[in-house]
């Protein structure tokens, strides 16, 4: 039977091959369709499995991962048991990242826009283009902006990255705008001035802490692997946890005491604690003597900040404040933990002062860089990018920036820039017109007053966006550069959130890139070449930079790429630092750096910027679902199955008084915008607050799972003019993410 069929067929084939000039017709047609090559024939195919060392890049934690790959498919991610950050576990965000890796909605090719109109609801009319065309088009448009308006007319929107920083400097623009003023600059300013002379640390030794305190600190709700692990171990070890938060966060739920403090008044509580600890001599005398500077100023400074004074402001009874201050000072070790967007993050005009007060309190109980407290990161020496890749001199550039960041006395030394003021700069051409932008992995929804930022971006002539998803920012792009997902890339990580001893983790690609993507460093180098700035990047590549980082630590890429654990650095016993990088060499309770820069050296009481009014009677709170990563994870089906929509979270009794029931649609309105959400009622929030979770309200139809769900919390946050920001006179240059009232009413 089979042979008859075959011979009939073969006759057909012979006849046919004459027309195909003796070769395969399909290939001979020249259509360029997929081709097959010889593989070892396997009748029974055994699964081919391997384990690849990598590290997580969903957040900056860099938890070491062992990725299990079966037949070329990533089937499981496991925390690297040898890694101090992961300790064999990962958080839900990492586990779910396989869904993002294999999401068919990811960007697949470079694209350019054909529709010059931009904005929500506008079809960009994207078409696929070659990488060459994408670089050429971007280079031409950047050059046009430079020729007509100067190099400062180009803005880089991204986190700092060595290759991008060099390109920005080679172009000669001062405009590098990143998100930190919406996230943690208040804490950076205080740590810079009082402790490190640089950035702030994130290494929390919660596990060894006996009294964990937090002003809005939601270490469990942020769901970072190392935070969850160490908080749960501390609690199992009989540590007490006290959380002050107007909303019952995940951490507040697990706390021994949840104190519903009035929003924006945490500084008063902290000042009263200083008052109690100093006036009652409860501080750690030897630590204060040896490690701190300026203790003699504290008694006078805190004299009037009594618990009774603070009770009026915070609405927390004075006896509770006094008791907690005493417990905090006498239970050892005790520490006030603070991580990014808590009350000491840039939420209020007084957040930097709260961050200062927290440094003082932690120093008074002796837990800065001591076990049970917040540790300075231990790391290997880092190589200098300029030494590894020597470069020509950069051109002169203007000092003034589009976000007026150069006017921030302390923060201007960090190239963070300001999401809150950049829209004002672009729209009003302050101090000059800007025309083009290079954006990497920042979503439009992440900017305060996102709708105004959309208008600002529309004013630019050209936007190039590096992304993995067709996000809202990608929808605003003239050219889209698709990047690979981190599981498809190489890298080296210091693991910012847990490095008790220097340890580097190495990432090798778990699978080959699935689409026509390029790594960000390669994009920058190619773009530089297209702009005739290639001489700034001679010999430079991401791979060589990875190797340089490893060489500075005493190893090489070749030695590490197939290393059994993917980790470099032996465990070392912890030794607390005895000097700090401040003018006095000590932790400055009285900050000479603040004083020199025209700020209050001590964190005197300062109220928040805007209190609720009769028209806007609610405090506005923002939190994040534990399983989501900002605005990046709403297309992930697993994560959305766990938390699929945001709500207006209201106090149940207050809602009943207002006639609002669970699930009713309500408007939440600030002085700049309103958003519509379904109400979620709970007893776990103060009567005068409404809380909205971040990350929703996507409008890009390119996000098939996320589009049209919930609303964007950031629409309500007023952006600032350059002058408003200056008038705030905040050393942390915070964006005041919650420092405005709102109203809530039925839709």
């Amino acid at each position: 039977m089979q042979s008859t069929k075959k011979s009939t067929f073969e006759m057909d084939r012979r006849t046919f091959l004459k027309t195909a000039a003796g070769g395969s017709l399909a290939a001979g047609l020249g259509l360029g369709i997929p081709r097959f090559v010889h593989a070892e024939q396997q009748s029974v195919i055994e699964p081919q499995s391997k384990v690849v060392n990598t590290f997580c890049s969903v957040c900056g934690g860099g938890c070491g991962i062992r990725a299990h790959v079966v037949d070329g498919r990533v089937v499981h991610l496991e925390g690297n048991p040898d890694d101090q950050a992961a300790e064999g576990r990962l958080c839900v965000k990492a586990y779910s990242s396989i869904k993002t890796l294999y999401d068919p909605d990811r960007l697949k090719y470079p694209m350019k826009r054909t529709n010059p109109q931009k904005g929500e609801g506008v079809d960009p009319g994207f078409i696929q283009i070659s990488w060459e065309e994408a670089f050429q088009l971007t280079a031409e448009n950047f050059q046009k902006a430079i020729d007509e308006h100067g190099p400062e007319s180009i803005i880089f929107f991204m986190r700092g990255q060595d290759f991008a920083n060099r390109l920005r400097n080679a172009i000669g623009t001062p405009n590098h705008v990143a998100h930190q003023s919406t996230c943690f600059t208040s804490q950076v300013a205080s740590w810079f001035a009082q402790v490190t002379g640089g950035g702030r640390p994130y290494v929390y030794d919660l596990e060894n802490c006996k009294y964990i305190m937090g002003f809005g600190f939601d270490g469990l709700g942020k769901s970072k692997n190392m935070h969850i692990r160490s908080i749960t171990r501390a609690l199992a070890n009989n540590a007490k946890m006290v959380i002050l938060d107007p909303y019952m966060s995940v951490t507040a739920r697990k706390a021994h005491e949840w104190i519903q403090i009035k929003p924006g008044t945490d500084l008063a509580f902290a000042l009263a604690m200083i008052h109690v600890i100093v006036s009652e001599n409860l501080f750690d005398a030897s630590y204060v003597e040896d490690m701190t500077f300026g203790f003699e100023y504290l008694a006078d400074f805190a004299r009037d900040y009594t618990p009774e004074w603070a009770a009026e402001i915070t609405e927390v009874p004075a006896e509770d404040i006094r008791r907690i201050a005493r417990e905090f000072a006498t239970t050892k070790p005790a520490h006030i933990f603070t991580h990014k967007r808590d009350a000491a993050g840039p939420n209020y005009a007084n957040s930097t002062r709260l961050a200062q007060a927290i440094v003082i309190l932690n120093a008074l109980v002796g837990t800065i860089d001591r076990e049970g407290g917040l540790l300075l990161k231990r790391s290997f020496p880092t190589p200098s990018f300029d030494e590894v890749f020597p470069r020509p001199d950069f051109p002169e550039r203007r000092k003034e920036r589009i976000d007026a960041w150069e006017q921030r006395e302390i923060m201007s030394r960090f190239t963070n820039g300001d999401f809150a003021t950049v829209a004002d700069g672009i729209l009003n051409e302050k101090p000059y017109p800007t025309k083009a932008a290079l954006v990497r992995k920042y979503n439009l929804l992440a900017f305060p007053e996102a709708k105004r930022m959309e208008e600002a971006l529309k004013k630019l002539d050209f936007i190039a966006v590096c992304e993995i998803y067709p996000s809202e920012m990608a929808m605003m792009a003239d050219v889209v550069f698709p990047e690979p997902y981190w599981l498809e890339t190489s890298g080296v990580s210091e693991r910012d959130f847990f490095s008790r001893y220097p340890q580097l983790a190495v990432r090798t690609p778990v699978i080959e890139p699935q689409y026509d993507t390029k790594g960000f460093s390669a994009i920058i180098v190619e773009l530089a070449k297209a702009m005739n700035l290639g001489h700034y990047f001679e010999e430079a590549s991401g791979g060589k930079w990875n190797n340089a980082i490893l060489e500075a630590a005493g190893t090489t890429w070749d030695d590490m790429k197939d290393h059994p654990t993917g980790l470099w650095g032996d465990e070392k016993p912890f030794e607390g630092k005895t000097s700090f990088n401040t003018p006095s060499g000590k932790i400055e309770l009285f900050s000479t750096v603040m004083e020199e820069n025209g700020f209050d050296p001590l964190p005197h009481w300062r109220p928040r910027r805007e209190e609720p009014t009769a028209d806007y009677p609610f405090h506005y709170l923002i939190n994040r679902p534990p399983m989501h990563k900002m605005t990046e994870s709403q297309n992930n089906r697993l994560i959305m199955a766990l938390y699929g929509e945001n709500h207006a979270i209201l106090n149940d009794r207050r809602a009943a008084e207002m006639g609002i029931r669970e699930g009713d649609e309500v408007y939440v309105e600030s002085r700049v915008a309103k958003i519509k959400l379904k109400a979620k009622l709970t007893a776990g929030i103060r009567h005068d607050c409404v809380c909205v979770f971040h990350g929703f309200g996507h409008w890009s139809q390119g996000l098939s799972r996320a589009a049209g769900i919930g609303a964007n919390d950031g629409d309500l946050i007023p952006s600032m003019t350059h002058e408003e920001m200056k008038a705030l006179h905040d050393p942390g240059a915070g964006a005041c993410m919650l420092d405005f009232p709102v109203k809530v009413y039925r839709a």
Binding site: D12, L25, A26, L29, L31, G32, F36, D71, Y102, G125
Partner: protein, 201 residues
Amino acid sequence: MVMVMNVNYQDRVVQYALHARFFYDQLLAKDWPVLQNTFEAMTPTCRQAHQVIRTEIEKALSDKAAEEKLRVEYAHLFLLPEGVKMYASVHQSSEPLLRQKAWQQVTKRYKTHGLKLEPDEYHPEDHASVELSFMAHLIEQGESYEAQLDFLQKHVLIWLPGVLQKLCTHPKAEIYRLVSERTLHFLKEEEQLLMQLMNME
């Protein structure tokens, strides 16, 4: 019921290759000569069946604005999420993700034939263009009708017609609506042809 046409060996290979090309990559003006030769390589009957799409594609590729319109249509339908996903895995798994079981199965299937996809190929093994190319390959390699039908039914017809149906009614589809209708028709013909050939034996 589709009437089985007198499809010969050459037409079958050319059609699989052509339809693989339609879904493989966007069409550009520079591709027209090759496409034209491909239409010419068909027998007159088969060529006639492709006349409408040939005319429309020729029009689109002979004019800059029309070419751009076709490229925008392609991006909407095949590159951006609002379009369709040309991967078997997305449609045959409990979750619409790439490289799930259907991808594994078709990859293994290629291996049982001693083949694998060329390593620098962008599309995964279960992409429509790859599966259609493989059908052309099976025919050219003189694989049995049974093997051809088996692959067609187990790996192509199980998902692709549903996606093509969606394309036929997709609001952004114009030229690709015609293309999908034609591909759909061809696949139905193919299944019937192979079943008939098997029954004859």
